[in-house]
Symmetry: C2
Subunit: 210 residues, 2 copies
């Protein structure tokens, strides 16, 4: 096992590996070689073996990989088995949709609570999660120490809110606002979902096709 820094490209491929292995697992496939997995995923066997080698040795010469085992290993690498606790800040349409539909547990997260400023929403319950008032946010986070926050709030409050949450111990943001958040605090991570950007990219490709 190499001990180099794991490159971003590899990290971003991990969820994809997991997706395919989960699929194989659910279909009852017991073993798979890097070759056949590569065929399925449209990448080379060499790349799969190299990617996996960043994290350990999970296969066996002459046999390949045990699907269930490799799936579990990748789940572990991704921290899916840790059940990180998470809060949702902003329960408007998007926050509501996530709360209602998204399978956080499957990604290894447990939804602790949700918060919104609107009195109409406060007190309502979606999928066993009760929406609390924003005024309770600070004390709640201090007491319960969730580690990740989903931000589905208006743009203008995003950065100050993030600063406050970082102060309170939040270390990861799943950021749906179209603002680029930043902080001087180390070991805080942002995953920015810039909807607009992806649609603009699509617009570029459509406009320049042919």
């Amino acid at each position: 096992m190499k001990k180099q820094k794991v490159s971003d490209a590899v990290i971003h491929r991990l969820p994809r590996y997991y997706r395919y292995l989960d699929d194989l697992f659910n279909k009852g496939v017991v073993r798979i070689s890097s070759n056949s997995l590569g065929d399925k995923m449209g990448i080379t066997a060499s790349q799969i073996r190299q990617d996996l080698s960043c994290f350990g040795e999970f296969g066996q010469q002459g046999y390949g990989y045990n699907v269930a085992e490799l799936r579990a290993e990748i789940a572990h690498i991704l921290g899916i088995d840790l059940g990180h606790r998470l809060i949702i800040v902003g329960a408007g349409h998007l926050g509501h949709a996530l709360l209602q539909n998204f399978d956080f547990a499957k990604a290894g997260f447990q939804v602790d609570s949700a918060f919104d400023i609107s009195p109409d929403l406060v007190g309502t319950t979606i999928r066993d999660v009760t929406i609390r008032s924003m005024t309770e946010l600070e004390s709640y986070v201090e007491l319960n120490r969730p580690i990740v926050a989903v931000l589905t709030v208006p743009q203008n409050v995003a950065q100050p809110l993030a600063d406050k949450l970082i102060d309170l111990g939040i270390r990861g943001f799943w950021n749906f606002t179209n603002v680029e958040l930043s902080t001087a605090v180390p070991d805080v991570f942002f995953e920015n979902i810039h909807f607009v950007d992806t649609l603009l990219t699509l617009g570029y490709r459509i406009s320049h096709r042919g």
Copy 2:
């Protein structure tokens, strides 16, 4: 102006340039140099000039760039001024949230219509867009020829639906299902929004911090 293929990295930076320029424009800033823009964005002046050079010459020696002009140029490059027509297929929570909140016009798209299978939704109107039945999808697309489809449907119907829509002339997919769509037809583009993947990536970083 170079005539090489524009790299993906550059294309993905374009929306970000646009966002910053739009902001400057709204603040009434008239001119900006690659140097000060680079400072704002946290990248080198050199990279900005190199990126822009893929598309033309938009600045002036000794002066820099006119903000309004450069903003308009990038808007043009991204096709924002073309007003591509778009349909939304699947008006469940996510489709509904997009329809209600997302500013498609700002990204250069015009929402033609939305479709859903549920009789409860068909006939209702959101922001001037009436939700039609899925049974009308085919004839509608044939007649009105939208170019892009937003897919917010269940996973299992995503690929066959995409195939059908490609047949009918759709050339771009803003795909919110967690399936990797593909086609043999050339000049069809997919922007896959894999929510889960980004959250898993965040989970990885949280788990491995420090």
